[in-house]
Symmetry: C2
Subunit: 433 residues, 2 copies
């Protein structure tokens, strides 16, 4: 017997009204947060580094002499972590780099009309800011997920902000990962004040064009505020999510382990099971309670599972109708037929195919990015990829004969849109030919 008594709420062939409710995500009190964060922005604008230092003392309970990680502390990072962890990080680094390198734009020149050539070229975003949350554990994996594509893209100025621990230090594993990614500046700043710093610039923190990284609701609100100030962000963010699809071929212990690895993130984690095999539910419930026994964050996971649920559908098609409506951040396919389901997937952040592909793999080391759209944003947004760190600029080159070929059509269109200066720009050129 387990000391836990988790039991997933079950919905059998839910109707559309129920589905409409089930796919909802928790709402956030935006208004209130926006006002608090505006105060932080105003303070950082007025007092720069001093404001960040004061807010760090207040929220992180540590008094710093300087915001930036010193060269000595930075270099020490690699000597303060075990070789085992270093090797693991190195393996993840290599896989993530390889996959993101494969995403490089292959510029294709297209002659759309004789003498009219169009193409795209990628350019790195010159100045970016990465935010790595603090908390009990050092999220060095997120440093890799943001730092590697920035490095592959060739972003020129990269600043990493992360809150200091109680000793005023940054965890050496974060520093080691940052070094691997070639990041030159690490700043001890967290929360909305770090985001405000990267939006507005301070003595220590340079203003950036785009901010990446996860965080709590204050960080998210600050990133949304950044948008108003003209700074781009990676993704709007919400609590992390997993949806596991399991048919009769699924291994209940694997399914339970995947649900738990999402549930341990936080009490607001979104955990959903979809199955075509009703008998799977009881087996998963048993496995959940068994495995909870051995988890360090079992209490968090158990609370998160309290609002988790399972939907049973009669058919695979109905299952994917629901999955696409839900648009999960992580979608795990626990099925012998998983490969046949790929074509059914319309909305998801990252997909894990087959029994031996847990979400943990993508979280750390398979090579895919773990910064993904939550809160049903997967209906319209991609996760972070190399694309997120570049602009694709379009180019066109038109020869004299090219402008003769398309010029008259342009003049007709411009004239019909009553933009005669647009037509004139063509006429001026045609007149010389």
């Amino acid at each position: 017997m387990s000391k836990y008594d988790v039991k997933l709420k079950t919905y059998k062939n839910p109707n559309q009204d129920v589905i409409d409710d089930l796919v909802q995500r928790p709402a956030i009190k935006k208004e209130e947060l926006s006002n608090i964060v505006q105060g932080v922005f105003d303070s950082v604008r007025k007092n720069g580094d001093k404001a960040i230092l004061a807010l760090t003392e207040r929220f992180d309970k540590v008094k710093l002499d300087q915001l930036e990680v010193s060269k000595a502390e930075y270099i020490d990072g690699s000597s303060l972590i075990s070789d085992e962890l270093k090797d693991a990080i190195n393996l993840a680094y290599a896989n993530i780099k390889l996959f993101h390198q494969s995403q490089q734009l292959e510029s294709k020149k297209i002659e759309t009309t004789q003498g009219v050539t169009c193409w795209q070229e990628a350019r790195p975003i010159e100045r970016i800011g990465l935010y790595i949350p603090g908390g009990t554990a050092p999220l060095f994996s997120t440093v890799l997920m943001l730092g590697i594509p920035a490095q592959v893209a060739g972003c020129q100025e990269v600043v990493l902000c992360t809150p200091p621990n109680k000793d005023g230090k940054v965890h050496p594993a974060i520093l080691y990962a940052a070094q691997l990614c070639g990041i030159k500046q690490v700043v001890k700043a967290g929360g909305s004040q770090a985001i405000a710093g990267m939006v507005l610039g301070t003595g220590t923190i340079p203003p950036v064009y785009k901010i990446f990284g996860p965080g709590n609701q204050f960080v998210t609100a600050a990133k949304m505020k950044g948008l108003e100030y003209g700074v781009a962000i990676d993704l709007p963010a919400g609590p992390s999510e997993v949806l596991v699809f399991a048919d009769a071929s699924a291994n209940p212990a694997f399914v339970a382990s995947d649900l738990l690895s999402q549930a341990e993130h936080g009490i607001d984690s979104q955990v959903v099971l979809v199955t075509t095999d009703e008998s799977m539910i009881e087996k998963v419930n048993v496995a959940l309670n068994l495995q909870l026994e051995n988890l360090s964050r079992a209490n968090t996971a158990a609370i998160a599972l309290d609002h988790a649920y399972v939907c049973v559908f009669d058919t695979v098609e109905a299952s994917y109708d629901f999955i696409n409506r839900y648009a999960p951040e992580h979608l795990i396919l626990g099925s012998d037929d998983a490969n046949d389901h790929i074509g059914l997937i319309q909305n998801a952040g990252s997909v894990f195919i087959g029994h031996y592909t847990p979400e943990s793999a993508g979280d750390y080391a398979s090579g895919t990015n773990h910064t993904l759209p939550t809160a049903a944003y997967a209906r319209a947004y991609s996760g972070v990829s190399l694309d997120s760190f570049v602009k694709k600029i379009t180019f066109q080159n038109i020869t004299k004969s090219g402008i003769q070929n398309i010029g008259p059509a342009i003049m007709t269109m411009a004239t019909n849109e009553e933009l005669t200066a647009h037509a004139n720009a063509i006429q001026q050129r045609l007149d010389t030919l």
Copy 2:
């Protein structure tokens, strides 16, 4: 002698402080707009179609019986425009389609570690909304620029909103372009109420996942409001811009015609000339005044040119330092050496290379998209492309030997991040092998 007396303000080798001022764009009164637009959203949420009809009567001065363009009116579109215009639109359609088709993701499967395979697949955004502004002229070109990539991507539900004219009709050229793009639903709604309709849904207008299209400051504020409601948008928008680089090889008449074709868009158009040849300025000024004589929107253009300016730099490098700081929406290279300058460009929306490549070509028919980042957003944003209409979902497939290869590293990393359930998901699987 021209009746106009336009003279571009001139800055010679401006220093950094002056440059900081020059690259600023006009500020927008966001707060006030946001409140007005919130009122429209509240009204549309409460009264749906009725609210849209009432606001259309108020702002567009026309009382409609129904919001949706009827089948008969839609089909009539193609018979009510000239063959000349139809042919021009058809040519543009073919070029734009060809270039956007070339942007399709070529899915590459990458084996990052033996047994660990990662790849991306694109999926269309299922429900999108296109906004086409009204005004004196029908912007059918924008229908093509948004409708074609939506069609190439395979977006399943596309609604197009555009305000009706005084007779309660939509211009046939807009309807013809929409037909070409396979758009099934055209709705007579404009302004922030149209955007609110696409965000919230009404009886006639379906709610969408992403909204595209230009518009005035109310439309822009409504799109930003849509972001708060969880709907994605194409780009934050501001007044349109051109920056022309001209060296001694440039043709002053061509340069003037390109500046004018931007200036005629509106009195707030941003028009900038950068040159390495001081003698070019007077020649361009003369050409501007001459060409203004023959333009239907000369008064608008003349007002816009009033806040236009020219920067003279001693070197090509200094010119591109400025250009990259400015990050223009449209960048025209009037130089025999234009091809050699491509590598110097870091920030721009779309680039027009050489003397016979006017912006008008990209606005209508070269094949590139004309929905581009303004207001220096080109530092962090790409223009609209096929990417804007799809999500790139990542997939991973791990074999039994694959999880044996990367599992231990994942467990090490997860344990160091104090996420033992993540490690457990690996262990559960390794235990069976």
